[in-house]
């Protein structure tokens, strides 16, 4: 069973004859016998998922790393966090997915308007199943709990991931005044309600 270990800004993936999927081009070094091949634009989600990703404008592109040995993965010196998932679902902004172990499914979710406002495509990636997921963030992640009666509002550009039962809605800070001159500076924000946790990074993309 492949093991993912985060070491600050590098992800160490120990392979024991099995495979993981990682962001294309993220390998910085490896030891042992490891083969790298493109997992295609589907990211393993099957042909249907590939079509949907194309439609959604997703830029996620994964490679499959197979063999015995240790692979070092990194992306633009960003902080790496490893998440263990057991029969659960995590929603991650696609460009933050660094690697997933084999038994996790990646699926694309349409996010509608939200994607339009952030300009990074119309979709986020839903990671479900059991296994490990490594995500990258510009600076250490900050977790913000969401409970009934305690919604949180985040900047779409700082949002990285979400877990639990969350309902997302778009908050518009635009008033008629801002159409003629100055706005609130945060024209669109994401409001999360329900029960779960939202992860943000201390930087705006």
């Amino acid at each position: 069973m492949a093991q993912l270990v985060a070491q600050k800004r590098v992800l160490l993936a120990d392979l024991t004859g099995d495979s993981i999927r990682a962001m294309s081009g993220s390998m910085v070094a490896y030891q042992g016998q490891v083969e790298f091949k493109s997992a295609g634009m589907g990211g393993g989600g099957g042909f249907r998922a590939a079509i949907r990703q194309r439609v959604a404008g997703e830029s996620i592109s994964l490679m499959e790393c197979t063999g015995h040995g240790r692979v070092h993965l990194a992306y633009q010196a960003q902080d790496v966090t490893v998440i263990g998932v057991q029969n659960d679902t995590v929603t991650v902004e696609s460009e933050h997915v660094l690697a997933v172990t084999r038994d996790l499914q990646l699926d694309v979710q349409f996010a509608g308007l939200r994607g339009m406002t952030t300009g990074q495509g119309l979709a986020t990636t839903k990671v479900s199943g059991s296994g490990q997921l490594a995500i990258v963030s510009d600076g250490p992640l900050i977790g913000l709990d969401v409970a009934p009666g305690q919604p949180v509002v985040v900047d779409p550009d700082a949002y990285v991931a979400g877990l639990g039962q969350l309902q997302m809605s778009l908050v518009s800070g635009v008033t008629w005044r801002s159409l003629v001159g100055e706005g609130g500076g945060e024209p669109f924000s994401l409001r999360f309600e329900g029960h779960g946790r939202v992860y943000i990074q201390p930087a705006e993309r």
Binding site: T81, V82, I83, G84, V85, Q86, N87, D88, V90, Q132, D138, G139, P140, L141, I142, G143, L144, D145, A147, Q150, P151, V152, V153, V154, D155, D157, A158, L163, G173, T175, R177, S178, G181, E182, G183, G184, G185, E186, R197, V198, Y199, I200, Q201, P202, A203, E204
Partner: protein, 253 residues
């Protein structure tokens, strides 16, 4: 089940009050108003409203007295309400400073927020603003902040701000005059090595430096410099315009 997220997690109560969440993010305990740089907010809990400075000033007249810089009015918003507001700036270090009946001048692009007990004024040095009074403000820096005391010469790009000392004068390395005639001509055309110009500080006070020279784009700086050209008569303004065109045609520096 999800585990392994050993990373710090907070809710509305456990978020720090007026303190850093981590070196790159700061949590403001909002009860009333704060001036916040546009786009600095990354998350908030509670009932918080963000309004443009002049839009808010039309409802609360004290705002105009506290924020006396029309140049920057559309770079800033007033956050009002009750809650916790988390601010950050592109993953740069964020620090809070307490000013006590003092004055501090800081690069506008690095100022993320300040309490309304402080008064903001435009500095004579382009791209800088001065905070006067007592209260807390937040500033970002590319790398940790270095404090030094005058006499000191600073690279304009690494300079973050200064407090309690007189505004700097510009210093040019003395051998500029000894250089060849052609170098002088190039200087007139706007070609400089970039390091012969420094800010010279004298007197007593503290100078804040950041450990990198990475330039932050400041939209208002252009307007500030442009407004300074009002000092020129029409003919010199035309000459300046020609030099600027020549510089942009050289590819700019």
């Amino acid at each position: 089940m999800i585990d392994g997220l050993g990373t710090a997690s907070y809710d509305a109560q456990s978020l720090p009050a007026d303190d850093n969440v981590n070196p790159y993010a700061f949590s403001i305990a909002l009860a009333g108003e704060w001036f916040v740089s546009k786009g600095a907010m990354i998350a908030y809990y509670g009932n918080v409203d963000f309004a443009g400075v002049s839009q808010y000033a039309s409802r609360a007249s004290w705002v105009a007295a506290r924020f006396s810089s029309p140049m920057y009015a559309d770079e800033w918003v007033v956050a009002s309400g009750q809650g916790k507001v988390v601010v950050a700036d592109r993953g740069h270090d964020v620090n809070s400073y307490d000013l006590e009946d003092g004055n501090l001048t800081i690069k506008q692009a690095n100022l993320l927020g300040f309490a309304p007990t402080l008064e903001l004024k435009q500095s004579i040095v382009p791209g800088f603003v001065t905070l006067i009074g007592t209260g807390k403000f937040l500033a970002s820096s590319n790398g940790p902040v270095i404090f030094v005391e005058p006499p000191f010469r600073a690279d304009p790009e690494a300079l973050l701000g200064w407090s309690d000392c007189p505004s700097p004068s510009q210093h040019y390395d003395h051998h500029w005059m000894a250089q060849s005639f052609m170098a002088g001509v190039q200087g007139m055309l706007g070609r400089e090595s970039g390091e012969e110009r420094q800010y010279d500080f004298t007197g007593a006070g503290t100078i804040l430096l950041q450990s990198s020279e990475k330039l932050v784009v400041d939209a208002a700086l252009l307007r500030t410099v442009e407004s300074h050209t009002n000092l020129l008569d029409a003919q010199s303004a035309g000459a300046l315009g020609q030099r600027l065109i020549a510089r942009s045609q050289q590819g700019g520096r």
